[in-house]
């Protein structure tokens, strides 16, 4: 049997955990296993590995819906999503979109947002640690300044508390990369709105005008956060 033919059958059998007689005639199983049981070793290993990868990649989704529902969700996901990358971190890249279209969203409409947050968290986690401008380099900033933020600063405006909370109150927050990992910083809805305007390239004065409900204290707090964590890449 040619290698291609054999590998095609092996994959089909292990991926679907199904017996293929023609394949099982081609090998001698280990120990006292039957041929089908030997293939099950590979099939079950695949199942455990991919479930574990999805669980790690979407840790908050797992925490939110629990092991049983997560397993059911994984079972549906794997039917249409094999792993096409050598990087297990990439498994489930389409999981947020899949959840949005899944029946589970009827009962948990914000679950896909939670999945997006998990995905963003991982992206920040694997990003290189870069320090932006120091406080003194921001001294000249004024209402006409346009801020360019580090890519490792991500804002979330979630309909439910997605990070550290009991999932019952609304919340907005930042993820940002630190030298040792990823940190979380809660912000108000208005701070989130202001940041969105800044992120779109508007000058500070214009962004504040577009966020009339924001207080001077909230603006000050936001910029203290940016400067103390060196999250601004450049300004003009």
């Amino acid at each position: 049997m040619k290698l291609k033919e054999l590998q095609t059958m092996f994959l089909a059998s292990a991926y679907k955990n199904s017996s293929i007689d023609e394949l099982e005639k081609k090998f001698t199983p280990a120990g006292t296993l039957s041929a089908s049981e030997a293939m099950e070793v590979y099939a079950e290993d695949y199942e455990v590995r991919m479930l574990e990868a999805l669980k790690e990649n979407y840790a908050k989704v797992y925490e939110y819906i629990g092991a049983e529902k997560f397993y059911l969700l994984y079972n549906d996901f794997k039917e249409t999503h094999s792993s096409s990358s050598y990087d297990l971190e990439r498994y489930g890249d389409d999981f947020p979109h899949f959840i949005k279209d899944h029946l589970i969203s009827a009962k948990a409409p914000n679950l896909h947002t939670l999945a997006e947050m998990d995905k963003t968290f991982r992206a920040v986690f694997h990003a290189p640690f870069i320090e932006g401008l120091a406080s003194q380099q921001l001294a000249d900033a004024n209402e006409n300044s346009i801020f360019n933020f580090l890519d490792t600063l991500k804002a979330f405006d979630a309909p439910v508390p997605l990070w550290k909370g009991d999932y019952t109150e609304e919340t907005s927050f930042f993820f940002f990369r630190t030298s040792v990992g990823v940190n979380y910083f809660p912000i108000s809805k208005t701070q989130y709105t202001l940041f969105s305007h800044l992120l779109s390239g508007r000058a500070l004065g214009e962004a504040i005008e577009l966020t009339p409900e924001i207080s001077a204290e909230e603006v000050q707090q936001l910029f203290l956060f940016f400067s103390s964590n060196r999250l601004i890449k450049s300004l003009k």
Binding site: M1, G31, F125
Partner: protein, 279 residues
């Protein structure tokens, strides 16, 4: 092409795991004796600039590092994955490992990766096919690689030679080295009913770049290579036999599931060191 330094300094290493990042943060060689080097799983840092990469960058200031991959998939019928190889080449440049290794296996296809180390038939046709691919990899990376024998839960009836002969001939034809996993030899010898010492005897000393040791789990019907427990006493015996036949060889303790405290891992490394020192 950069060549591996074989057996010039037979030392014991351990696999770096995230659970031990805090333990290794401020280590120096004196602190961890007999641990003289660390093995990093290539894929853990290949696409990441996160904490793991930083730990490796810091660790390499004090310790030699080897890169051990699981995704080369050298035996797949598909062409080599140059996206993977480009990243690996860049990583090698950044980490400067003393050794780059992977497994004698395939892991799936570009559309369906099982993320497992899968067996294939040891035929002369496949030997030629693999020798060419290994050479292609080594030419691209500009250095030798080592390939590890794997644990398998079946063996193909169309095998024309046994695994040790296949490895030996592959090393001879391609110039690659062998990463001899003594635990895998033992596990397969029980699962497939062959003499593990004969396997060891058939591997030329000069082809062995490194030895791996790990724990397996007895599943009743078969032995399962779980890397979840201490090295079995029979595997220690086979390791001792291997060193007696081949001399001192760099040895790594692997532990991937139910990972113990770093101190316990060092204890396991001490056992290998002790056997090596008594030669």
């Amino acid at each position: 092409m950069e060549h591996l330094t074989i057996n010039s300094s037979a030392e014991v290493g351990v696999g770096l795991r995230a659970q031990h990042f805090k333990d290794v943060k401020n280590l120096s060689i004196e602190d961890t004796s007999p641990v003289a080097w660390f093995e990093v799983t290539t894929e853990n840092i290949l696409c990441s600039k996160g904490r793991g990469r930083k730990v490796v960058e810091d660790l390499r200031q004090n310790f030699p590092i080897s890169l051990h991959g699981v995704s080369l998939s050298i035996a797949t019928v598909e062409n080599l994955n140059y996206d993977y190889l480009e990243k690996l080449k860049r990583l090698i440049h950044e980490v400067d490992p003393f050794m780059v290794s992977d497994h004698l296996c395939w892991t799936g296809t570009s559309k369906n990766n099982l993320h497992n180390l899968l067996p294939f038939p040891y035929t002369f046709e496949n030997l030629e096919y693999l020798a060419n691919k290994v050479s292609e990899v080594q030419d691209f990376l500009g250095r030798e690689i080592a390939l590890e024998n794997l644990s398998a839960y079946l063996h193909f009836n169309e095998n024309e030679i046994d695994e040790s002969e296949f490895l030996k001939l592959l090393a001879k034809k391609s110039g690659c080295k062998i990463l001899l996993d003594v635990n895998n030899i033992y596990v397969n010898s029980k699962n497939q009913n062959f003499n593990p010492k004969a396997y060891v005897d058939n591997i030329p000393k000069e082809a062995i770049a490194e030895i791996h040791l790990a724990g397996f789990t007895d599943m009743g019907d078969y032995l399962f290579d779980t890397h979840s427990c201490p090295v079995h006493s029979d595997v220690w015996q086979l390791y001792k036999y291997t060193l007696e036949q081949k001399g001192k060889i760099k040895t790594l303790i692997e532990w991937d599931e139910d990972i113990p405290k770093f101190f316990d891992l060092v204890e396991e490394a001490s056992k290998a060191y002790s056997i090596m020192e008594k030669l």
